[in-house]
């Protein structure tokens, strides 16, 4: 479904993404891990067609995102980093706009918005200005706009950032529910999250893939059995601290 080949992105002299290759099939939930500035968001921005790669290619269902960005964008639902939203709108007017842009027939829009709002638990704040919402609500409105058109591919940049433990749990459940027939790529800093929802983990550091495997394989690498230790070892090259 998604094939990424030798993807590169430079900003001036700086190589943010340096030859990343992997492919993802429907049913997979891919956790994207790495230290801050490793190139996770930049890679996601190239998959969604927001950034143009310096080299390499992203193919979605066989179509190069750069050659036909619009048909690729139609298949994707995207939650950008920090869940940016138009703060002067209400969740309802924002979702109406997204639904229209996503070509959901006008007769279906209202019921679709109600359904999605119930799914991500924002029904109570649908008509409140986004500016006044808490961080957790904003994140969930961002999630709602990403899934409103039931996309085949879901790209979520730190979907649980800023949520309390209960909300994190709900969002993880939601991701698992949707994972059956979709391709889901999510980035996170929380290592338990990878264990909880991902079928596969990729660690990138300094723009390169340094690990690609299942969460249990990742865990198996550490003598202590702690993900934190493996993560530190892989991304910094230092030996794990074993108690």
């Amino acid at each position: 479904m998604i094939e990424i080949q030798n993807l590169q992105k430079s900003f001036g002299e700086f190589r943010a993404v340096d030859g990343v290759s992997f492919s993802v099939k429907p049913g997979e939930v891919l956790g994207f891990l790495g230290p801050n500035g490793a190139g996770k968001s930049t890679t996601m921005r190239m998959i969604t067609g927001f950034l143009t790669p310096t080299g390499g290619a992203v193919r979605i269902a066989g179509v190069d995102v750069n050659v036909d960005p619009i048909s690729a964008k139609k298949r994707i639902g995207y939650l950008p980093e920090g869940a940016p939203l138009y703060s002067d709108m209400t969740p309802r007017t924002l979702l109406e706009f997204i639904a229209e842009a996503r070509e959901i027939p006008s007769a279906e829009r209202a019921s679709r918005i109600e359904k999605i709002a119930a799914k991500v638990n924002i029904t109570g704040v649908l008509d409140q200005q986004i500016e006044t919402l808490s961080k957790g609500y904003k994140r969930r409105v961002g999630l709602a706009q990403a899934i409103i058109h039931d996309p085949e591919i879901l790209i979520l940049d730190e979907p649980t950032d800023g949520l309390d433990p209960n909300q994190k749990h709900e969002v993880r459940q939601l991701i698992q529910e949707m994972s059956k027939d979709k391709v889901i790529i999510l980035s996170t800093h929380i290592l338990e999250e990878v264990e909880a929802v991902c079928t596969r983990a990729i660690i990138i550091t300094q723009g390169k893939v340094v690990f690609d495997g299942t969460p249990s394989e990742l865990k198996g690498r550490s003598p202590s059995g702690r993900l934190d230790d493996v993560f530190r070892e892989i991304t910094t090259g230092t030996a794990p601290v074993t108690a």
Binding site: F11, K73, K74, Y78, L85, Y86, D88, M89, F97, Q145
Partner: protein
């Protein structure tokens, strides 16, 4: 086209969702009123036309239009919503056009709010309504020119203050291009063709000729191609800088 209209609708709605629209329209009406009646000597002239009203439009737009256009892209870039907007299934060009058309429609609404002055002059005398209509068209075209410049400059930065100041200065160049003070700078050393080219870029020249009541195709093409060029540049700049 459909996606352009979707964006246009969202943008236009956003103007009226905040006090921006109301503040702008009130200030615009206040300033046109003051300029027309006090500085333009609307009554003292004892002529049934709107020349003192339209005379100030290029200067009024110089301040007010950059205030609208500064936020067009700078704000999207600052808040990150540009990433939301440009990952929806439409092209950068469609987004640029949609946002521009919304801003243009909004200035059209502000301009429409000045029509009581048109009624007033009809009550007081017997003006040439054809000329007034042409001047309204000319004013709207000129507003479009200012907006396209402002939108393009707004895409270059994520700072709205910079966008405002740079747009104001750039628009000022387009006004001043027709004034003798600027043309004198070129006379003496530059060939006549250069001087003619510079003066042909002046908003004043084109607006004044339409405001006299003649909608000359050349003036319409001038504003149309100026808008087209700046929106194209806007799209290219946005594609190059959106990731920063």
């Amino acid at each position: 086209m459909k996606s352009t209209i979707t964006i246009l609708k969202r943008e236009l709605r956003a103007y009226f969702a905040t006090p921006v629209a109301y503040v702008f329209i009130v200030i615009f009406l206040l300033l046109t009123g003051i300029l027309t009646f006090y500085m333009g000597g609307f009554f003292e002239r004892e002529q049934a036309d709107l020349a003192p009203f339209f005379f100030f439009h290029p200067w009024l737009y110089l301040i007010l239009i950059p205030a609208i256009s500064m936020r067009l892209w700078a704000e999207e870039r600052k808040t990150g919503t540009i990433e939301l907007l440009l990952t929806l299934p439409f092209s950068t060009g469609q987004a640029v056009l949609g946002k521009f058309l919304a801003a243009w429609a909004f200035t059209g609404i502000a301009l429409l709010a000045t029509t009581p002055i048109w009624l007033t002059v009809n009550l007081l005398g017997d003006p040439d309504n054809g000329v007034i209509f042409a001047a309204y068209i000319g004013s709207l075209l000129m507003a479009g020119g200012y907006l396209a410049i402002g939108s393009c400059i707004s895409a270059m930065t994520n700072n709205q203050v910079i966008a405002f100041v740079v747009s104001l200065v750039t628009c000022m160049l387009f006004i001043l291009a027709g004034l003798p003070a600027v043309l004198d700078f070129f006379t003496g050393w530059a060939p006549q063709a250069v001087i003619d080219t510079v003066s042909s870029f002046s908003f004043m020249t084109h607006f004044n000729s339409i405001a006299k009541g003649v909608i000359d195709l050349r003036d319409v093409i001038f504003f149309g191609s100026l808008i087209g060029c700046f929106l194209l540049a806007n799209t290219l700049i946005l594609d190059a800088k959106k990731g920063e």
